[in-house]
Amino acid sequence: MNWLSRKEWPWWQAGLLLGILNVAVFYTANYYLSASTTFSRAAGMLVSLIAPAHVAANAYWQNVKPIVDWQFMLVLGVPVGAFLSARLGEQAVKFTCELPGLWVNRFGTNPARRWAIGLLGGILVGFGARLADGCTSGHGLSGGSQLAVSSWIFLAAMMLSGMIMARFIFRRA
């Protein structure tokens, strides 16, 4: 049980376990590790609160229905698992709005700036994942494992664009 309370697992152990978990999901759920479709379903649920007819008439939400399915429950489970892991490894888990160290070094402590850039980033992540039909889980882990052409195009495009952007934003002093 000492192993479960380590702060960090070596990359190859964590990676191997993710691979094994994915194979188990293929067999037991006839599905694959993935996350981003849930955000479309959840967005549909939220818009339905105000404009149910609009959601019912939307071509995308007719395919990706605003319902709770296997993947939706998976996304709800992720923070629970991360909490258990952090709790076992680092004892106390404090819920804070503290900004990441690297962010503060580059952009300072102004929360409004984090809101503006972080929210823009989130919108691009959500939109890009839906356009590409997958994210780092569905395309990255699962599609990559299946040698899907679509997923390797996604992975290459995502890494390249992120790296080019990082060059512009984090110029070395």
Binding site: W11, A14, G15, L18, V23, F26, Y27, T28, A29, A35, S36, T38, F39, A42, G44, A59, D69, W70, F72, V75, G77, V78, P79, G81, A82, L84, G89, T96, C97, L99, P100, I117, G118, G121, I123, L124, V125, G126, F127, G128, A129, L131, A132, D133, T136, H139, G140, L141, S142, S145, Q146, A148, S150, F154, A157, M158, M163, M165, A166, F170
Partner: protein, 184 residues
């Protein structure tokens, strides 16, 4: 033969348990952190890509083995070159600005980092919702660009899957060991 058929409420519980395991491993891999993800794009800490590649390679061997003995189905997403390419490029820029992807953002919340939850979950919900709104336009104008259907690399090359898997594991496994030795 074939995968198990789990349905109804049991399937939902299965999803929740899978998510708990997924989040647990992501946190232990330390990839649910802004600094780790941004430093991957800056190429100053390659933990994220090491974990991802190890997961992809082990999953590859497992999934294709299980598929070979008829225990799992493949779920290959259609190749839409334009959408995969542009969507991936938009995703990469967003992931650098936000510092999280959808899964790690949910994991960061469990670790107590509300930074990920506030900007991440809200932003991704807005982005996904926006996509639904513009979908009819994209579908008729752009989505079918470079449509090759459900295509895998072995099918594209016309070879047996293991002719791709074995060299991939050897080469990418070698790259992993090499970058690990360099201390990245």
């Amino acid at each position: 033969m074939g995968p198990l058929e789990i349905t109804g409420a049991v399937r939902l519980v299965h999803g929740l348990i899978t998510g708990i395991l997924f989040g647990f491993i992501l946190q232990k891999a330390q990839v649910t952190k802004y600094d780790k993800i941004v430093n991957f794009f800056r190429l100053t800490d390659l933990t994220v890509i090491k974990v991802m590649l190890a997961a992809i390679l082990s999953g590859m061997v497992g999934v294709y083995f299980m598929h070979g003995v008829g225990l799992v189905n493949l779920h290959i997403k259609p190749t839409l070159v334009g959408a995969n390419l542009i969507g991936g490029a938009i995703f990469g820029v967003g992931m650098l600005l936000l510092g999280f992807c959808p899964g790690t953002c949910a994991g960061a919340f469990g670790e107590g980092r509300l930074d990920g939850l506030l900007r991440g979950v809200l932003g991704i919900l807005i982005g996904a919702g926006l996509y639904s709104e513009v979908y009819p336009f994209i579908q008729s104008n752009f989505l079918k660009m470079g449509d090759y259907g459900k295509l895998s690399i072995p099918a594209l090359l016309g070879v047996d899957p293991w002719a791709v898997i074995v060299p991939s594991v050897v080469m990418l496994g070698g790259v992993l060991v090499w970058i690990d030795r360099k201390g990245l």
